[in-house]
Symmetry: C2
Subunit: 355 residues, 2 copies
């Protein structure tokens, strides 16, 4: 988008908070009352960004939904509510068009966790991240196939998992946002991949994107035996997003010097710990010198690992070697309906607004 194209800065503004469970584009309005900020008006350490694409994510609901429909929304709730009358925000990417920051120059491509839904936005330079890679990578890919789930997958498979061709990787929640990238990054590096998911439809998708073997954990019976039956050679990397009993069974199928990546724990996060079944097989890690690592992507943002990830994954994208479904909508004005579609399931793939 040309910086000079318009002197009005279109914004999507939150008009009122939504009642619980309901979402509709009518809660937003298109605002064209403000001018595009003048480059000269930037304060020191500020940059002006032309927003290129916005990510529509499930967690946005937390910031726009009244916690109690019978009471006025309270900003002191568990999540601070987005201010009414201000442009809505979500993860977004864009290009620097003016800078009073030493860290950024015009033309730099950036990503921000809280990007306002407007054509141009002013950021303090510590709230945006400079994107690695070059112009051959599409800007919207940084919130799509190269976004946080894919980076998390890369960190688990490569940076922490130290995957080597010929090894065997087991991944739970294999059809999920992270899991499907784990499958494909591991296959691209020459590993044998076993994917686990909770329906035959999901396991069929996991096979389609390259897994050598799949398990439906709801129908496979005893986990330890089921894993062994599809991977009698043993597991070198287990990418875990579920914790609990499946993790415990996976531990009994590990090879010496295996790596276990703890990325999520659907079965125990937020659960009453008195009802959780504990993991009993940690002692099996000792003689095999297994390494188990917690994985959280945030501390790795801006590291060499992220640059390496962008380089490797963007090559795979160019080669058509990665399946990643997106549902791209054109124009800022499409954002409210896109968000409503996300919550009603009227999307097919990762929802992205391209400005």
């Amino acid at each position: 988008m040309d910086f000079e194209q318009s002197n009005l800065n279109t914004r999507i503004v939150l008009r009122e908070y939504l009642p619980r469970g309901v979402i509709s584009e009518s809660y937003f309005s298109v605002d064209k009352s403000q001018a595009v900020p003048d480059a000269d008006s930037l304060a020191s350490e500020q940059i002006l960004v032309s927003v290129g694409a916005l990510s529509m994510d499930p967690h946005l609901r937390l910031f726009i939904t009244a916690s109690d429909p019978d009471k006025p929304p309270s900003p002191s709730g568990p999540h601070s509510l987005h201010p009414l009358g201000e442009a809505m925000s979500s993860i977004g990417v864009g290009t620097v068009v003016a800078s009073k920051s030493k860290k950024f120059k015009v033309g730099d491509r950036v990503r921000a966790t809280a990007t306002p839904w407007q054509q141009f936005a002013v950021f303090h330079d510590h709230l945006v991240e400079k994107l690695p890679g070059d112009e051959t990578v599409a800007l919207e890919d940084y919130i799509g196939v190269l976004g946080m789930p894919a980076f998390t997958a890369y960190l688990g498979v490569v940076t922490l998992g130290q995957a080597k061709a010929g090894e065997t990787l087991l991944v739970s929640a294999a059809s999920g946002a992270v899991g499907q990238m784990v499958v494909q990054l591991a296959k691209a590096r020459g590993l044998t991949v076993v994917g686990v998911a909770g329906s035959d439809q999901k396991t069929a998708y996991v096979s389609k994107i390259g897994a050598d073997a799949v398990l439906n954990y709801k129908t496979c019976g005893d986990f330890e035996q089921a894993i062994r039956s599809v991977a009698p050679q043993g597991i070198d990397i287990y990418f875990d997003s579920v914790g609990g009993e499946f993790l415990d069974a996976a531990l009994l199928n590990l090879n010496a010097r295996a790596r276990v990546i703890l990325c999520g724990s659907m079965t125990t996060f937020g659960a009453d710990k008195s009802t959780v079944k504990g993991v009993k097989n940690l002692d099996s890690l000792i003689m095999k010198e297994v390494v188990m690592r917690g994985l959280f992507y945030q501390p790795h943002v801006g590291t060499q690992a992220e640059a390496d990830f962008i380089e490797e994954a963007s090559q795979l994208v160019k080669q058509g070697a990665i399946h990643f479904k997106t549902d791209v909508r054109e124009g800022l004005e499409s954002a409210p309906q896109a968000l409503a579609d996300l919550y009603s399931g009227n999307n097919f793939g990762k929802l992205i607004i391209r400005l």
Copy 2:
């Protein structure tokens, strides 16, 4: 010992298997019927070693005790019995006095897991390990203060634990063979150390060798609270030898990027898993990116880590900075009585036979 001192090769020979639970020096005999092997008689890849010291260890009982006192000992039992009429063997160290191996030269100092109880012994070169360090380290120290428990402690604190001055280390079984070395190696590197043991006598010893704080797990009450009360700054390294509930409580006291070293699991090894209480707090490892590693010393033998360990630990020994109790007996003939003393508790410290 001078190679030429005697042409008779004194040996301690196992005469008969012991009944269960009984041990006595009468089950051994001193044999002087064989000549010292001639250097010329060595086959290719063999070395002749002058044995310098022997380690007396609890597990030796497995090889000399009749599994059923009413039946003749069977070599097909769970542990192969040591052959009668042959020199007994245990972990030992010595000096090469003749070599037809490319790997060893005369003067090299070596350690072997199965060292015959005799003055001179012939080994195939793949059954002995060349010892790092120089002559300023006493040979017997390699089965004492520089032996396997200390090396295990070093691997956990330094190689896998990556201990840094100023960090806080928690160690269970802190008065044990490994634990007391963990305490001292960590203190020598400038860490704050919390030692856990199961009696006030043991915790007093752990304090004496340098721990900054101690916990008696039998009387401290709720583990999670007890750990927090003595280490409110949080734990950077947890050296675990117990597993189970104490491990689970320790996980809730870890700092970001903490390391958990799994070295043993007294509460679950060999236990009926249906009665074991599982570990429920593995999900707390994720956001903190904690690393949990199984530790087994064997794969690290002969690595640079072992050489580094010998260098650092032998310096500490010379400086008198390490407490390590030994009970050294003089002469090969003292071995049978030493072994009997080990099983009756008539020793004070690690039992070593110096030849």
